[in-house]
Symmetry: C2
Subunit: 380 residues, 2 copies
């Protein structure tokens, strides 16, 4: 249980049901859907202190606090959010949700399709970052939030935050885009493609309809996660943490787990495969691949951001080779070319892409300072 003086404490998930059909970028239509979300802090009287936290590939709505019946289940960004923390719940009303297509309670491929009585499986539409923002805007409507004080996220979450400034320029005052990119590189897509292929070619995947076969494509999910982990960590962090240490202290001359890094990766892979939905993994990686606001503007990112009105904090981490600082600077340049207010920080960190989830003093101080200024814009 976290130190209760700095934790939002016991939280519980809420559900929102939407019965207005949602049209996706793909052309698909979802007649109805549910979103699961959590909130921390109190919404002020004019509903001007709300922050939306968007999650990354494997994230969810449980962002801070813990559950009464499971106190060790602490939210994934609990170090950042709470009373007196950088995202101060004494000042802000914070919302975390599980994205549409997810596997933590919101409607997704593993949910029952009311039209068939069976899981959606392969029939669940490919969801884009734009679609998510649309679904998040409906949640904001439901909560009576006309404009967010801030929308933020790291990695894929950062892409959603950026998209908010494009889809709903008037509904977000500040965008905090952390460890993200204006679009994936060919190498980024390539890693995603290998992960997807591991799942797609797992004989237990059954074309996405594995639920009715009573199996799970564990092998594929495991490989996808192992590979993901390599790209989340920096080369140096891996060297520091694992080096070439051998589990048993000597070479085994076999193909079992031998080096400590192998033990770590397989453990992470097994853990992930035990709870994450394979179709959600496919869908999340595709959303990453597709995000590319410049596409409609002949690859001109400046033009893509011409509609934006928000103020921006863009943060990158020096050892993040998945979404390198160079990618963040591309966002910053496009924003500056549109004469928008931009703060940019390049945080020295050894932890690679994962840095955005870590409790890192400089990073947290920058977040705290920025959000402290944001909090001055509205009455307590």
């Amino acid at each position: 249980m976290p130190n209760s003086t700095h934790s939002v404490g016991v939280v519980s998930a809420q559900r929102a049901q939407f019965d207005t059909p949602l049209s996706f970028r793909s052309g698909a239509v979802l007649p109805c859907y549910e979103l699961v979300y959590e909130t921390y802090g109190a919404l002020n009287s004019d509903k001007s202190n709300a922050i939306l936290v968007c999650h990354a590939l494997s994230g969810h709505h449980h962002v801070a606090g813990y559950y009464a019946d499971d106190t060790s289940n602490v939210g994934w960004w609990d170090t950042m959010i709470g009373p007196g923390k950088p995202i101060d719940t004494n000042k802000f009303f914070v919302i975390g949700l599980n994205n549409l297509g997810g596997c933590h309670g919101s409607t997704g491929p593993s949910s029952t399709n009311p039209e068939t009585g069976k899981p959606y499986g392969a029939s669940f539409p490919v969801v884009t970052v734009e679609d998510w923002v649309e679904s998040q805007a409906r949640l904001a409507d439901l909560l009576g939030i006309k404009q967010f004080a801030a929308v933020m996220g790291g990695s894929l979450g950062g892409m959603q935050a950026l998209q908010w400034s494009l889809s709903y320029p008037e509904r977000v005052r500040h965008v905090l885009a952390i460890a993200t990119a204006p679009r994936l590189t060919a190498q980024n897509i390539a890693f995603n493609d290998v992960a997807r292929n591991a799942i797609l070619t797992d004989p237990d995947f059954h074309g996405g309809n594995f639920y009715e076969h009573g199996v799970v494509p564990t092998r594929g999910l495991r490989l996808a996660r192992m590979l993901g982990h390599i790209t989340y960590l920096s080369d140096d962090a891996m060297a520091d943490k694992f080096g070439r240490e051998l589990l048993s202290g000597k070479l085994s001359y076999g193909y079992g787990i031998e080096f400590e890094i192998e033990s770590y990766l397989r453990y992470q892979g097994d853990k992930f495969a035990a709870y994450f939905d394979a179709n959600t993994y496919l869908l999340m990686t595709k959303a990453l691949d597709y995000f590319d606001p410049a596409r409609e503007y002949n690859d001109d990112l400046d033009k893509a951001f011409a509609v934006a009105r928000a103020n921006f904090l863009v943060l990158s981490f020096t050892t993040d080779w998945r979404f390198s600082p160079e990618r963040s600077r591309a966002i910053v340049h496009a924003l500056l070319h549109n004469r928008l207010n931009v703060s940019y920080g390049e945080i020295t960190s050894t932890h690679g892409h994962d840095s955005f989830l870590m409790q890192h003093t400089h990073y947290h101080e920058v977040m705290r300072a920025y959000l402290n200024n944001v909090s001055r814009e509205f009455a307590a």
Copy 2:
């Protein structure tokens, strides 16, 4: 067919049978084995002009020239080796072999074990770089070569070249270690581990004895190769070659091949899975993981190279993130600390790790200049 004035022309593979048992580092013993090899150029009267070319993970003995009955099957380093080329066959006698454990003709997991009449499969020993050098030394004995003018290779081949200077300091005058490392990093091992797991968990692998089941672990091999390819290319080279181009020009909102990079990777994966042996892949990656001459010297690479007597050319490529220039410089420092003759070149190239296989002017000029000096040490 290559330009015949610069090609070694028609070549044919030769076989050498060894009936003296070979003891491996693992403790395993192979009672007898065959090596398949090719030679280019002529051995001079005192047998002092021989060059051994060691291959990398997926390489083999067909290094230069082409086959009479298959003229389009050109050796993998044909741009480097031939009359008038950097490795000039008018001066040198060049040997390429398929390593023990390989799948191109030398005894390996897919060969028939004479004791059982069945393929070795999972029973084939894990082979180390030291074991390979031992088997290569026996081939040199057979050919009457007491000392090589040079032993060379790129990547895993470079590790073998380095090991020659440690196992047989008096039998090699020059070591050319290209795009290699004194040992793998945790990240390198991690990538290998994901590739191995893709193979090991493929239901068609059958614990390595898939031959008798009449199947091949195609899915695993495919994933392993796709992943490998990402690490062979630089981020920039991928961006230049594929970018975010879509095969059909528009998004498909499905999980089929969509981006050009996906098409490339899957093609490479399918091609590889159609001919490469899964057990050989496991064995080659394990040899990479195990190579670590400093291990026996308390991680002191200087001490490991204290026995070396050769002269060295160490080359790295600026965009090689698999075996970065930093790794080559570590080799250079250890050699210099032992007062050995070392030339080091850091070649500016956009092609990542694959650069060592490419026809790159500066790289080829450096190789040519170095080997021209080597050729002055012996009578024509």
